[in-house]
């Protein structure tokens, strides 16, 4: 399956957050995920890994002191 199942890691726990994800883009300092049927969610997270063989994407939740965090509206720019 090419459309991805997305998990998020937080404090060592992995939780499934979205299925059939078709689109990911940087937005508002995090990542905007959109499914094949148009459901959209914004995560304050960065990509931990992408497994294209198994269509799995793992996100890692960003905290206030994450060095990668970009504050404010940064749609279109890397988070």
């Amino acid at each position: 399956m090419c459309l991805a199942t997305v998990y998020i890691e937080d404090d060592g726990q992995r939780e499934k957050v979205m299925q059939d994800v078709a689109w990911i883009e940087p937005a508002n300092g995090g990542l905007q995920l959109i499914t094949f049927l148009g459901e959209s969610k914004l995560f304050q997270a960065q990509i931990e890994s992408i497994d294209l063989m198994n269509s799995l994407i793992v996100l890692k939740r960003m905290t206030a002191d994450s060095p990668e965090r970009v504050p404010g509206d940064q749609k279109g720019k890397p988070a």
């Binding site: 399956m1 090419c2 459309l3 059939d20 078709a22 689109w23 883009e25 959109i34 094949f36 049927l37 148009g38 459901e39 959209s40």
Partner: protein, 264 residues
């Protein structure tokens, strides 16, 4: 309740090896189910077969449901350019046959046809979005008591990997007299059980003699696969298939009737 029988079955997946006769069987079953007083929705879930609408007697194919999400090529830019979530038919929790827009269903004499999507050009990528759409459409499809959905699946078994059978009540495996077809029937029987479908049968198809039917029955029984019926080889059907004409034959009424006695 229809005809005094409990309506167990609502969504029937017809699958099997490529060329085993899935679409032909779907067309024959559709006419048979309709003749028993049901309204039939045929779901064309095969991204490559071009002629199911002809087999059912329609003169045009409905617009693919894939277009409701913008089509395969447009879907991603459409999402990224819109700030508000889109309200579309396919995101509803329940979809009824009457909800389908006119361009996306063709109907006549209590038989309707919808099409998930087709591969249209080389290098356009895989059919995964169509698999997702099949799964979600079937999951959300709510049938009335007098409605039955027959799903003409893509050839092979990839649809099991995509979870399309998650909301299916019954699986019919069309099996022709060949080793590959038998082997695939065994595989499908296992896969259907793994996803929790309890009503799984094979339909023997293209049967030219009692001896062939007996041999196939023995082979399938050895593999632990239930048989719901047998459809004889009928030159009239072969000719219709060759010429792209509607598939129907009075001579197969008895064969189809025996299958439907168990299925409905």
């Amino acid at each position: 309740m229809i005809g005094g029988k409990e309506m167990w079955m609502k969504k029937v997946s017809v699958c099997g090896k490529g060329g085993s006769g899935k679409s032909t069987v779907v067309a024959l079953l559709a006419h048979g189910v309709r003749a028993r007083g049901y309204r039939v929705l045929v779901v064309d879930s095969d991204e490559s077969n071009p002629g199911l609408y002809r087999m059912l007697g329609f003169d045009k194919r409905p617009e693919p449901l894939l277009e409701l999400v913008g089509g395969k090529k447009k879907v991603f830019p459409t999402f990224s350019e819109e700030s508000e979530p889109r309200e579309i038919l396919l995101t509803r929790e329940e979809i009824r046959v009457t909800d389908l827009p006119g361009d996306y269903i063709v109907e006549r004499d209590s038989i309707g046809l919808v099409c998930i999507g087709k591969i249209l050009q080389s290098l356009e990528g895989c059919a995964c979005p169509m698999g997702v759409l099949s799964r979600e459409f079937l999951k959300r499809l709510r049938l009335q008591e007098d409605e039955v959905a027959l799903i003409d699946m893509e050839a092979g078994i990839e649809h099991f990997g995509r979870g399309v059978e998650a909301s299916i009540d019954s699986v019919l495996i069309v099996t022709e007299p060949s080793f590959d077809s038998l082997a695939l029937a065994e595989k499908i029987n296992t896969l259907a059980a793994e996803v929790g479908v309890e009503r799984v049968w094979t339909i023997l198809n293209k049967i030219r003699s009692k001896e062939i039917a007996l041999r196939l029955r023995e082979e399938l029984e050895e593999r632990g696969i239930s048989i719901i019926g047998s459809i004889g080889y009928e030159p009239e059907i072969f000719q219709s298939g060759l010429e792209g004409r509607p598939v129907c034959s009075d001579k197969l009424e008895t064969d189809i009737g025996r299958i439907l006695d168990q299925l409905l």
